[in-house]
Amino acid sequence: MAEANALLNNPAGTISEQELIAQVQRGQNELFYELVRPYERRVYAAALAILRNEADAEDVAQEAMLKALANIRQFRAEARFSTWLIQITVNEALMRRRRGRNAIMEGIDDHRDEEGEYTPRDFADWREIPSEALERKEVRQKLAQALATLDRKYREVFVLRDMEQLNIQETAEALGISIASVKTRLLRARLMLRDLLARGWEQGWFSRLPFEKGTKPW
């Protein structure tokens, strides 16, 4: 216990993730939150991408963390811990959705053709959008809204690959689909979001100041 407290109170955060995992695997469960804290946001986002309901996503995120704790001894060091957590979360979320009332509707959506080519629509002259744009809440909200308009199968792949940073194979494994499907869906998701962002680009979402387009705030 003293050892655990010493670890928890270590302000320099010098314990490696590997060491933390080993401690928890040896039974120091009180260290588990320290271990998962860096990933809690990603775990929530993964659950939300699948469930689209904040309350369910939070509950599933918590359930997934409890499950991860219960199975921590099965974690093998050759895997990335964050990926392992997210895969558990995706699995929990998919199970929750299957049990939910929308399972039939979601199933119909899943079988739609995805092989058709997607043609980009907007060819405005782009430049790099600075990441500082994300400091503005309305920009983040617009991006989140654009993402929410995607069909489930595109949204899930996009979130796991581009937001959760799983690789293509891990994304395929987490969702139980083929690598080819991941690539096809990812391409389409990125192109669709690009078109949606292009609209925002024209509407000035990414301007540094809201009155840059000529409208004065007073």
Partner: protein, 211 residues
């Protein structure tokens, strides 16, 4: 090798995601790079798509509800307490239970008159029955009854005792007479009804997965 001249816009759009992934071979990459230098439309698609990947990949794009971390930490702590309580409880309770079972076994071996702790596998201990109420049991049966119940078997071997004693000996309430008794016993009929239902339900076969 892909001939740079042969890559048209449609092919570029089809491969643009793989290009961003670094998942195209050197020939195709070179062909696409050449294409981007000369085609403003495809350059626009590339830059827009790069923006998408970069912006959505930013940590700030993930927003969690206020208090999310605190609630997660609390739930983890709660589960630890439950586990720890169980561990503490089981660490002494299991040996104690084992000793009790052994002692019980010895006693059963020495005296055949002591019944099994739970005579009916389907029943649960009764609730709502006054502990000092006089009830009737008969040897070889599993239930205790209101005096005069017509469902008492082996009437010649019946004996009277209190409900508390009957329960202690492992007898469970008769679903017929005890239910009727509980229903009419007091003004709190509705409350007792649910108890009696529970008693009646306890006598039924449980469906796997049922509530």
């Amino acid at each position: 090798m892909v001939n740079p001249e042969a890559v048209n816009c449609e092919q570029v759009w089809r491969e643009i995601s793989n290009y961003l992934e670094g998942d195209v071979d050197a020939g195709l990459r070179a062909a696409m790079d050449t294409h981007f230098r000369t085609c403003a439309r495809c350059k626009s698609v590339l830059e827009g798509t790069s923006n998408v990947v970069r912006l959505y990949g930013d940590e700030r794009m993930i927003e969690v509800p206020a208090g999310f971390g605190r609630r997660l930490e609390r739930r983890l702590a709660r589960s630890r307490r439950v586990r720890s309580n169980w561990a503490t409880w089981s660490s002494w309770m299991i040996p104690v239970a084992a000793m009790l079972l052994m002692a019980g076994g010895l006693k059963v071996a020495s005296s055949r008159t002591v019944p099994h702790p739970l005579l009916s596998a389907h029943a649960q201990p009764a609730h709502g029955i006054p502990p000092d109420m006089a009830v009737v049991v008969s040897s070889g049966a599993k239930e205790f009854h209101v005096v005069g119940c017509e469902f008492i078997h082996n009437k010649d071997k019946e004996r009277t005792l209190t409900a508390r004693e009957a329960e202690r000996e492992g007898y469970v309430p008769c679903v017929r007479c005890m239910r009727k008794y509980l229903e009419t016993a007091s003004a709190g009929k509705i409350a007792l009804d649910s108890e009696a239902d529970a008693v009646a339900d306890a006598g039924e076969e449980r469906v796997p997965g049922g509530r």
